[in-house]
Symmetry: C2
Subunit: 635 residues, 2 copies
């Protein structure tokens, strides 16, 4: 049952040594000749020289007349000179300069008279003439080798009479999905089916880098079948990626397949995620075993395949845009690995904030939401919250400066607001992190958010939010924006099979409850209800089972892995669950004064007051609207 990895190579070392091994095995790029107009974005295989000069003849640079300069000498405002027919030739821009002429006078400077054209200034020799080769001279180097071809370079080559160019060929990269449970993407998978979408992610990454992905049919976990497919791919392509089967489970054949066909250079890299990686070769062709989890795969391809492609294209490493940012939450990392943490980023005032996203290797959305990658070096235990860290930026900086950062309690309406915001104002974006109401209050206190969704019940007064603001913002400095009233209650399987009648029923033996994380308003409500209704949390099976959003609680119940959970009506109705109403709570948006005048917050206020917000919210159900977007008196 499993065997330990051959090694735990530090990333930098593995990258360097693997590439060296490939090169000594004869790994090198191919070239091809393409028509210049289709060469944009390609890299020149060798220096490109002009075949002809541009312009290839002395040309007029203006509309006007071509003359002999010395015929015009002496002409001034007071002593004009008149040129007779034969002393000038009418030319348009681009016309060849007639034999004997050595200057052009602009049409604007001419006065037509009956016996010719009169000028009031002498022409300097060679004025307004585009000399041969002004742009490119025949034989001149237009582009060195291994340079990217830009639109302007295409123009320069065609101007220089170069119609075809030898470029570095796009490497064909085979992607072989393996696994007994792997099925093509579909909308109705069976339990145990694993959707094969990695090849689509990898293909899109490869195309962006100028490679040509070739996805092979899914192969079952069978040594001979995988071996045959790898052999076939290594024959037809320049690089081979075998997806999954790279760890040490019962059915991981990739390493032995590569060993049987060529060489396993490294198995196991000291990175997280991505450790179960295989760097191998078949002859001179790189063959890599990529971990099955999408996030691991993306990181391995970015960090270990990309350098191989850079070598192929004869390019230096890409300029990674590094920025320093403030970490909003602590990051704990293992000493054994170099860890790559996806972070969501945003400017609050002039501070660039980085919030770690879900770390699970299966969470591909974390990469979609990531604005940057924080690397925790091997041998470091991580970083505390508030630490200034260096982050590799994935999003454009101007986008981050225009991103509304919302941190706090989750509600699906935030996603709708994000959609409305960007659609209404294309230059604005919204990024939200779900850390519960208290998390939101703390984020605003630390100046890390433009807004926070909160719904905190004061169990003494029964009033929402206000007392918490008094406590955590004794000196004010914040505004409270009225958002919505939400119907809270127990979400139950369709038809309420266990016949739940009241909150206290969640303690029934055999009932599987699913809870929310500490610090969330719903968790506070849960604990408050346990008190008031005399329910002992210890008696609730699943009390310690925590989910981060209303939706994910609803999903557990809809999926049959739980029988009850506290949450909002809109989430329950989304999954057609039964719902036992318990109370209406106030879900408001907390905004620091410092962020009030930003275009993002002003647009947010405008949207909350809009009819289209009302329409969307009413369509979702379970909300009450009372002048959303207006300020609540903090007295």
């Amino acid at each position: 049952m499993g065997f330990s990895y051959l090694n735990n190579m530090p990333l930098a070392q593995a990258r360097k040594a693997y590439l060296a091994r490939l090169i000594e095995s004869g790994f090198a790029s191919r070239t091809e000749t393409v028509p210049v107009p289709e060469s944009c974005g390609r890299f020149t295989a060798r220096a490109v020289y002009a075949a002809i000069s541009a312009p290839h003849y002395a040309a007029s640079a203006m509309d006007g007349i071509a003359v002999r300069a010395h015929d015009t000498f002496g002409a001034t405002e007071t002593t004009p000179v008149t040129l007779k027919a034969g002393q000038y030739v009418v030319v348009d821009t681009g016309d060849p300069i007639p034999e004997g002429c050595d200057a052009v006078i602009m049409v604007e400077e001419l006065v037509r008279t009956e016996d010719g054209v009169t000028i009031h200034a002498a022409a300097a020799p060679w004025q307004h003439i585009r000399q041969i080769g002004e742009d490119v001279c025949a034989g001149e180097m237009i582009l060195p080798g291994a340079m990217e071809i830009t639109p302007a370079a295409i123009g320069a080559m065609l101007a220089g009479g170069v119609l075809e160019v030898e470029v570095i060929a796009a490497p064909r990269v085979a992607i072989i999905p393996t696994g007994d449970e792997i099925v093509p993407p579909c909308a109705d998978p069976k339990p145990g089916d694993i959707l094969e979408f990695n090849s689509s992610i990898f293909s899109a990454m490869l195309r962006r880098w100028g490679a040509e992905p070739v996805t092979y049919p899914i192969v079952k976990d069978d040594f001979d079948a995988i071996r045959a497919m790898v052999e076939r791919a290594a024959d037809a392509c320049d690089i081979v990626l075998v997806n999954a089967g790279s760890s040490a489970g019962r059915e991981d054949y990739t390493a032995s397949v590569i060993a049987s066909l060529g060489e396993v250079v490294y198995h196991g890299i000291a990175i997280k995620p991505g450790k179960p990686t295989i760097l191998g070769r078949v002859g001179a062709k790189p063959v890599l075993g990529i971990p099955g989890y999408p996030v691991s795969g993306i990181i391995v391809i970015d960090n270990l395949l990309r350098p191989v492609l850079d070598h192929w294209f004869r390019q230096g490493p890409d300029g990674t845009h590094l920025v320093t940012a403030t970490l909003t939450r602590p990051v704990v990392s293992g000493l054994k690995y170099e860890e790559f943490v996806r972070v969501r980023m945003g400017y609050v005032g002039d501070r660039l904030m980085a919030s770690p996203l879900a770390r699970g290797s299966g969470v591909v959305t974390s990469f979609m939401k990531a604005d940057g990658i924080l690397t925790v070096p091997q041998g470091l235990e991580g970083y505390p919250a508030g630490e200034t860290v260096t982050v590799r930026l994935l999003s454009e900086e101007h986008r981050l400066r225009n991103t509304l950062v919302v941190i706090g309690s989750h509600d699906p309406l935030l996603d709708e607001l994000a959609d409305m915001l960007h659609s209404d104002a294309p230059e604005l974006y919204m990024s939200s992190a779900h850390v519960g109401s208290m998390g939101g209050i703390m984020a605003v206190r630390r100046g890390e958010a433009h807004a926070a969704g909160i719904h905190l019940l004061d169990t003494e007064t029964g009033v929402y939010n206000l007392s918490f603001l008094k406590k955590y913002f004794p000196n004010g400095g914040v505004k409270l924006l009225r958002c919505v009233g939400r119907q809270q209650g127990l979400m139950l399987p369709k038809g309420n099979p266990m016949g739940i009648r009241c909150f206290a029923d969640i303690a029934r033996p055999g009932l599987r409850y699913v809870n929310r994380q500490k610090g969330s308003g719903t968790r506070i409500l849960m604990d408050y209800l346990c008190q008031t209704d005399g329910v002992d949390p210890a008696a609730v099976y699943g009390y310690e089972r925590e989910e981060l959003t209303h939706t994910s609680v609803a999903v557990q119940i809809a999926g049959g892995s739980a029988d009850a959970g506290l949450g909002i009506y809109s989430a329950a109705s989304l999954y057609d669950l039964d719902f036992l109403p318990i109370c209406i709570e106030e879900y408001d948006l907390l905004v620091p004064d410092s962020a009030w005048d930003t275009p993002m917050v002003q647009k947010l206020v405008e949207l909350l007051k809009s009819d289209k917000f009302r329409d969307r919210i009413e369509a979702m159900g379970g909300y009450t609207l009372d002048r959303p977007g207006t300020l609540i008196e903090l007295d």
Copy 2:
């Protein structure tokens, strides 16, 4: 003969008002549905919601065994617990959690015994289980509308059971080349032929922005023919570009054609280059008249068409990367226009330098070489040398930091070195500007260059370069790198038809001489020879006709527009010209001490000493090599 433009609209105003006019005319984008795997880089037409949860079942996150957590309670190092058959199920990563189990124990933590598996730690409920919807919950918004689809977003959509996505369609942009002299690109054009490569430049730009260019056949300067083609294009495409025919020459029909089919919104924008631009529409479709010079066209498309495309794709303006740089040479600009100056950039030490490139609208290579665009606002006369200016960066900053900046005297061998440098060290680049030897010395003095090619003859001593260094660097601080000896002489048409025998013959009546610019070493040599050989410059026809490089002097002679010029043998032989040798000069490279230790300069020295440099130089001919790359004693 010509008419004044309808207007001279400031750029920002024209951009805004034109777009507003298009929108009120009904201009809007189309959408289309594409398979998700092919959607990378496209923009979502509306918000995308997950159809299923991912994972869609509770799955094991590890290889190991699935258990009931409470069966494991009490297990410790000292009091191990043994699970009997039936109390556990072996699971691999991704396997569904069996009914009744609520935790997974990793294979690494198990000890197999004859009567089952022994564990030394209790399992926390729900440990190592990927809950349903950990990544995506069914019904959750995956992407808002008008968002770019990334590789990870493709994975998120497929994980969420979304197989097709509605995206904003690529606008079809018609490009109609017009003009009687326009011919398709070729290697043997006749005098007067103008190669039509603008459509290839524009197409490449448009594809980069996600549009679909459609190039139409070349149309002659004929009102009816152009009108028919524009009508056809406006019918088949979303946007129409008519190239050239937008100025006020004798045969410019574009404006009247657009007026006859729809509306000319603006004719004449206050930008340079690019003034003769037409912003019009036919129905709701934008129809633009683009100036014929490639540089003007690129700037007009970038500044006036791009915003139209941004509106189509519902995107905010692109984040232009602005940097501050030091201007190496003055920029003079007209008050009437907003001027766009292409600049070459490089870091010398920590100073980012910007050198204006050739300003001619026909010089497409200036765009190819440009690292940035300097905008001189309307109403400003320009900037002095040394001014700190804001530049829009076109190249990546890390590339500029790795660019060897060579400013000074021109020699074709510099291009060969640029090619060798980047091929040898893909992370390094070289950028050279030709401003003559004295210009190079001044650039090094001002700290604007890593190296300067110089060949300055001390007319007293007959010694090259050294006395100039003593004069301009009295306190030292520079090194002189031995490069090559160059054969200087008179370049003459093949067969020497005018029978030139000696230098003094250039003053012969009827002979057309072509000179080099002041400050160039060759010009200094020229003037020195005039003295020594008693030639009166005033008697030399073409003495004031200046070219910037040896190659361009050779081209004028090869092209028949000049009969003689002073230059180096390699340039003459490139064009198979006759050559009357005059002297061998020392062409050396001046390097400031401050730049000596940079990887760029160190690589340069290495290359100068290499055999491949020797081979390339010998192939060019006309050079003598004496320990290139070694240092010359400065006394």
